[in-house]
Symmetry: C2
Subunit: 153 residues, 2 copies
């Protein structure tokens, strides 16, 4: 039993505990995301799915499964990149601060960083004052990574 199986197992128990089902297909898709630990598009997942499982999966199913996994807080959709990643909470029990996603707008690489909690709290206060609510304390931040910056110059 390797680490990924443990994670999937854990996710399944989580689902079961409140009456939802982590079916085979859903496990397969989640597993792909957990294994790569990178952000993947729905169509990346379709391709990977065939490679890993020797079986096709319709786009519709992948989107439905991703919706389900999002609702279960097992994956996170990065709207800036139209990509999906396994939620870091699956593998990590304790918060070490508030994770934020840095997304390189050139090469689409995604990096998760930790930001001072007080900084996020300040931001949150400004947001609430404006009559909005943060969807998630995990911001998607549009950046350029140093590699791309160097290449462009």
């Amino acid at each position: 039993m390797n680490n990924i199986d443990t994670i999937i197992e854990h996710a399944e128990q989580n689902c079961k505990s409140h009456g939802s089902r982590l079916t085979t297909k859903r496990k397969q898709v989640l597993s792909l995301l957990v294994q790569t630990s990178k952000a993947l598009s729905a169509y990346d997942l379709i391709d990977l799915f065939v490679k890993e499982n020797g079986e096709k999966i319709p786009a519709m199913s992948v989107y439905r499964i991703l919706d389900f996994l999002e609702a279960e807080h097992l994956v996170h959709k990065l709207k800036l990149a139209n990509k999906y990643i396994a939620c870091s909470h699956i593998t990590c029990k304790h918060d070490h601060g508030v994770p934020q996603f840095l997304i390189c707008s050139v090469c689409n690489v995604v990096k998760e960083i930790t930001v001072n909690k007080s900084t996020i709290n300040e931001l949150n206060q400004s947001v609430e004052k404006a009559g909005f609510k943060l969807v998630s304390p995990q911001l998607e931040i549009n950046c350029i990574c140093n590699d791309c910056l160097a290449t462009a110059a």
Copy 2:
């Protein structure tokens, strides 16, 4: 000469001053964005363009014009919503702090708020430490507005 004409005129001078041309089509598109002061998708602009000017415009042209206007810092692309807005700097000469965009993920309404400069600086430091660079100090923040929150409940 109304306010919008003044803005367009000003933008045109700006372009001229460094050798780029704010052509008729570009003015028409910019004008649509300045008038509505809301975030519009490229295809919203195509529809509006026909209504306002009684003349069709191809998607390709709109995208090219938006790229141009972005490069001129006359419009800003909201990647979270795949929409475009007139840059607030067109109408406002002085910075009143650092503007941030709050985007309601349900109804897509966009609100520009001001956040404490020190908060942004702290965030920026975390980003740089991770080897990334903010594309713009203007973050796009994925939120839910109170109206949608109330409706959902």
